[in-house]
């Protein structure tokens, strides 16, 4: 028996009699609980902004890019020229980041190196994008046997250790900014190709389903407004996450002597140069390039992660 029945009897008496009349209904119930629907990109933007760490990453990236552009102009020094008598000076008011063993100003070199490292990173990401999109797009679009063969090829290449192949390529080519970009792109496009192919296949199946139901030109509109935004997501995330990999690879190559050649400075070569003076008190030689590389990779990694979470359709409110 319902326990609350006894207690409530008394309360009922206090209710005025005239309330016992039927209510006028005018069918307004349904609309209430519909939440306003938010566009895909807006929703993703909201989610991204909520992710504090990802926002931090984005801010860092922007700062890095700005400093890379204006940094070398902030000092009167040139990244190539050094006054030998000034070698290995600690940071001071004249040399904000100190000097290296050839007396060159570290601050200028660090931001010049930023240009080089970031350029390599972005260039590699874009070229991989183009190769990957072409290959993967073609494979997915054609489908069938062509797709099978192309993907088999990719699977085999996928098994090769990426850095190893890059090293071999660099041994063969003359190390330099452009050859590094080429080597990285030639090995890194595979991931992008797979993603693009997957997206194209999805698009295709959606389009056919739509086409069978809807007539005429409206299919392309649906593709543009709904499907394309959804499929761009993983592609953008992949590009963002390629950059730190490229920066890492460039630094790695520098440590093998396969990096950019003097006098061009990159963060990798500067870190490598610091190897010889580890047992000295010249901490600025190591710390500045190390921090730059780490910060940049950190920034792109967390931003890329945040982007991935924000664009994940499964997590929409």
């Amino acid at each position: 028996m319902d326990n609350s029945a006894k207690a409530s009897k008394k309360h009922a008496q206090n209710i005025p009699d005239d309330l016992f009349t039927p209510v006028n209904k005018n069918g307004d119930n349904e609309a209430e609980f519909m939440r306003p629907s938010v566009g895909f990109w807006q929703d993703a933007w909201f989610r991204l902004m909520k992710n504090k760490v990802a926002v931090l990453g984005l801010i860092l990236i922007v700062i890095m890019i700005i400093m890379a552009i204006i940094g070398p102009w902030l000092t009167p020094y040139d990244y190539r020229e050094g006054v030998l008598s000034n070698q290995n000076q600690p940071p001071s008011t004249t040399h904000w980041f100190g000097t290296d063993e050839l007396g060159r100003d570290m601050f200028t070199r660090v931001w010049y190196g930023a240009r080089v490292s970031l350029f390599i990173g972005f260039a590699a990401a874009f070229i991989e994008f183009f190769i990957g999109v072409s290959y993967g797009g073609l494979s997915g679009y054609k489908g069938g046997r062509v797709d099978n063969i192309m993907m088999r090829f990719v699977d085999v290449l996928y098994g090769l250790p990426y850095l190893l192949v890059v090293i071999l390529l660099m041994v063969v080519m003359d190390p330099g900014v452009f050859t590094i970009i080429v080597a990285l792109s030639l090995t890194g496009w595979i991931g992008m190709a797979r993603i693009v192919r997957g997206q194209v296949l999805q698009l295709k199946s959606n389009e056919y389903v739509l086409a069978s139901k809807v007539l005429g030109g409206s299919t392309s509109r649906i593709v543009r407004k709904h499907l394309l935004p959804n499929s761009m997501g993983p592609i953008i995330v992949s590009m963002t996450l390629t950059v730190p990999g490229a920066i890492f690879a460039e630094a790695f190559l520098s440590f093998l002597g396969l990096g950019v050649q003097a006098p061009i400075a990159s963060w990798g070569t500067m870190a490598n140069d610091a190897l010889g003076v580890l047992n000295t008190g010249y901490w600025w030689r190591l710390v500045f390039p190390a921090v730059m590389i780490s910060l940049t990779m950190f920034a792109f990694n967390v931003f890329g992660d945040g982007l991935r979470d924000a664009l994940d359709p499964k997590m929409r409110r």
Partner: protein
């Protein structure tokens, strides 16, 4: 099950052959020949020709290729072009023990620490421990291991005698290099384990276990862990690859007398046979690891094992 093993084995051999072929033709595509580095002022044309014949470099490329493969089958990597007195195999054999110790220690340490960190973070989801662990993980992925290595040397190794930074020999020599090399793998494993654990803990069968009154320890150890760790096994192949390539630079920085160090030297010297040999050896190890991973995965996931049996 036998068919499964066989298919994997064949795939392994094919990948290896492709790598070897690629390396071979790449090396031979390099401009110049190994003798440009020799004595100052170059060597006489006759001497060069003799050397070419001696090393079989006068043969057409595809003949050289077949000879090479033939030799490989007997583990003959040929002589080093730079170090006249030694063969490549002896150099690799010399360096092998140190690299093995470093690599092995790194892998074991990474896997165990990574899993423990990941599990703890998942169990204390959204609390301080979780955030701290995940930040450490992100740092581990973002700070390149060679940068970490240099920082270790400068601020730990050179400060405290306990951690020797030169030469090799005692277990203490292994700590810093292994730690540096582990930073990436630990981070990756921790993140993966954590997200897998979180997903598994949300599964219906965990709810069933709780409804049976099973203790939380047993739920984690017996029910959750096995399911969460399966995906970790699959990345072991890629992880080994990164440890392998990472070891080149780490060995160089810490002056560990391993194969990696020889590899780096041979790159500077353009010692092609050495480069090729080390590439082949590394690739073989890698491909073999992936093969083992496939096997292990097939064994521990009962769904695959039984599927093969019923076939």
């Amino acid at each position: 099950m036998g068919v499964f093993i066989l298919k994997r084995f064949v795939a392994m051999i094919i990948t290896l052959l492709i790598i070897i072929t690629l390396t071979f033709f790449l090396m031979h595509a390099a401009p110049g020949d190994p003798f440009d580095f020799d004595a100052e002022g170059g060597i006489s044309a006759q001497a060069r020709e003799n050397l070419m014949i001696h090393y079989g470099l006068d043969q057409p490329t595809h003949i050289q290729y077949f000879n090479y493969i033939k030799n490989l089958a007997t583990l003959d990597f040929g002589p080093s072009m730079v170090s006249r007195s030694r063969t490549v195999d002896s150099m690799i054999a010399n360096g092998f023990p140190a690299s093995l110790v470093l690599g092995f220690t790194t892998l074991i340490f990474s896997v165990i620490s990574g899993i423990i960190l990941g599990v703890i973070a998942a169990l204390r989801h959204n609390r301080m421990v979780d955030y701290v662990t995940m930040i450490i993980a992100v740092l581990g992925i973002s700070i390149p291991n060679f940068i970490l290595a240099m920082i270790f040397i400068k601020y730990i190794g050179l400060q405290f005698d306990f951690f020797p930074v030169a030469r090799w020999g005692t277990w203490r020599h292994v700590i810093l290099p292994a730690l540096a090399l582990s930073s990436g793998p630990i981070a990756i494993i921790a993140r993966l384990t954590r997200s897998n654990m979180l997903e598994v803990l949300n599964q219906d069968y965990i709810r069933t276990a709780k409804a049976k009154g099973i203790s939380p320890t047993r739920i984690v150890m017996k029910h959750a862990l096995r399911n969460a760790l399966l995906p970790v096994v699959t990345i072991m192949g890629a992880l080994t690859a990164s440890v392998l390539t990472g070891s080149f630079v780490i060995e160089r920085i810490f002056a560990v007398p391993g194969v990696g160090r020889y590899f780096v030297e041979s790159i500077s010297n353009r010692d092609y046979p050495m480069i090729m040999a080390t590439t082949v050896v590394y690739s073989a190890i890698l491909v073999f690891m992936m093969f083992i991973v496939d096997l292990v995965y097939g064994i521990i996931d009962p769904r695959i094992k039984l599927h093969k049996k019923e076939g």
